[in-house]
């Protein structure tokens, strides 16, 4: 169990290490004839928060969805190159997608709990993956809600419909749902864009805590959010990864002029 304070010890400039969990090499991605990602190369460190920023349509969400093959759901989409997570090739046709998505979970812009009870929302994934005996379910639901700081508030209301929760609680529940199946990577696509500033702040704090146990990639339009929460930042533009570096460097002295223009609001 992590403590609150431990989760808040993000250094301004993280030490880089060789602890790579995701290695992306020469990744191209197409929607039909349109190339959405062009020769993306990137290494993601374990237990760090990596933010992906860039203007709309630059490919950052497409990139995120490549990591757990969510793009497969779109007809005529095609990827080339290599994405290795823990050394395993994600783009291989042989990969077990159910397992991949258990290992690499995703949180979306709008919280999307199932129209079921709070308890069932978390138990659902465990049942799909046959991860827990019936008697263990309660324990895992407890632990997962605790990890997203919802347990104390909701412990007496576990049978209530999840859709009655506030948006922030719903988003936390969606994160708890992922945490329950013990993923390694959490992908977050604009996880705070439907939330008010106070809820956003709380989700950001939660991310700081969660990174002790998980590797987090977040796509955000909010550059200040990227600066606040992340250890590393990647800037995408027109399908290319223009710059990738420690966040402290990207937001104080970016190497690329295009990054500078985007960060200072001079782009376009």
């Amino acid at each position: 169990m992590i403590t609150l304070q431990e989760g808040l010890d993000k250094p301004l400039m993280p030490e880089t290490s060789d602890n790579i969990i995701i290695a992306v090499n020469r990744l191209d991605f197409f929607y039909g004839k349109f190339q959405a990602l062009i020769d993306v190369n990137l290494e993601v460190e374990r237990n760090r928060i990596t933010a992906l920023i860039g203007p709309s349509g630059c490919g950052k969400s497409t990139f995120l969805r490549c990591l757990n093959r969510m793009n497969d759901l779109i007809d005529s989409s095609r990827a080339a190159g290599s994405i290795k997570i823990d050394g395993e090739e994600v783009l291989s046709p042989k990969i077990d997608l159910v397992n991949l998505r258990k290992k690499v979970g995703m949180v979306f812009q709008r919280p999307n709990p199932f129209p079921l009870s709070i308890f069932e929302n978390i138990a659902f994934g465990l049942r799909v993956h046959r991860l827990a005996q019936r008697e263990k379910l309660e324990e895992i639901v407890h632990r997962s809600l605790e990890a997203v700081l919802l347990w104390d508030t909701l412990k007496d209301r576990l049978q209530r419909n999840a859709l009655t929760l506030t948006l922030e609680q719903q988003q936390r529940l969606c994160i708890a749902r992922l945490v329950a199946v013990q993923p390694e990577v959490l992908l977050m696509d604009e996880p705070c864009s439907a939330l008010d500033p106070v809820s956003t702040q709380r989700i950001e704090e939660l991310m700081q805590m969660l990174k002790r146990d998980y590797t987090i990639l977040i796509v955000t339009h909010n550059m200040q959010q990227a600066a606040r929460v992340s250890d590393f930042t990647g800037f995408f533009l027109l399908g290319k990864l223009i710059e990738f570096d420690v966040t402290g460097k990207v937001f104080t002295a970016p190497s690329n002029k295009k990054t500078e223009e985007y960060i200072t609001g001079r782009y376009g």
Partner: protein, 224 residues
């Protein structure tokens, strides 16, 4: 629910520690430089020159940390004032370090020649400067704007002492031109010490801005 500000608070506490470390180091440099002069101790003077480099290094660290904090934590209001003030304080402390080094250089210049007379006013000026610096460092830690008035009072005393030292040395030099090489460095030292106190005053004024958001620099003291 934890408070978001704890992230920025932790970083600001580190920034504060860096500035205090600089302050304590610089206080030591003022003391050592005047001791070196008084006791004609070249070794001690050399120590001051070397230690000033560490102060310079700390100032770079303060700048780096402050810029990172502004870029990554988006401080507002009192947090923002704390960080920008911290940068200015570090700048003043770095200048005090340089001036202490200048005093140490004068001590080296004067070595090998007997002092014109036992030094009394100059060590007194050094003591007052150190007091002023202690006051402002304490005020910085406690976020206490009231200290500024005490520092302004010390500044007046130091200005008077500098005038007295200069007049006295000028008289000696006028009477006997052969004393110039031994007297003039002391005139410079009194000037260095007066400048050191000016920097302490700047810090005091910055602290008023940091705590109250009021500008008291450049005639804005509202006193007299």
């Amino acid at each position: 629910m934890m408070d978001h500000n704890r992230m920025i608070d932790q970083d600001m506490a580190e920034l504060k520690d860096l500035i205090l470390k600089m302050g304590v180091m610089v206080q030591g440099l003022i003391h050592k430089s005047v001791e070196a002069l008084k006791n004609q101790d070249n070794k001690l003077a050399q120590e001051v020159v070397e230690e000033d480099e560490k102060v310079d290094q700390l100032q770079l660290e303060v700048d780096e940390k402050s810029i990172q904090l502004i870029a990554l934590r988006q401080p507002e209001a009192s947090d923002l004032r704390f960080i920008t003030t911290g940068m200015r304080i570090a700048n003043d402390l770095e200048r005090i370090g340089d001036l202490s080094e200048d005093i140490a250089q004068r001590a080296i210049d004067l070595s090998g020649q007997p002092l014109l007379k036992p030094l009394i006013d100059i060590p007194q000026m050094a003591k007052l400067s150190q007091n002023a610096l202690s006051l402002v460092l304490d005020a910085f830690v406690k976020r206490d704007a009231a200290t500024a008035h005490q520092v302004w009072e010390i500044e007046r005393q130091i200005d008077d002492l500098r005038d007295r030292v200069s007049d006295e040395l000028l008289e000696i030099m006028t009477k006997d031109a052969a004393t110039v090489s031994r007297a003039f460095p002391l005139v410079l030292v009194s000037r260095h010490l007066e400048r050191i106190c000016d920097h302490a005053t700047n810090i005091a004024e910055d602290i008023v801005y940091m705590v109250e958001g009021k500008v008291v620099k450049h005639g804005g003291r509202g006193e007299n």
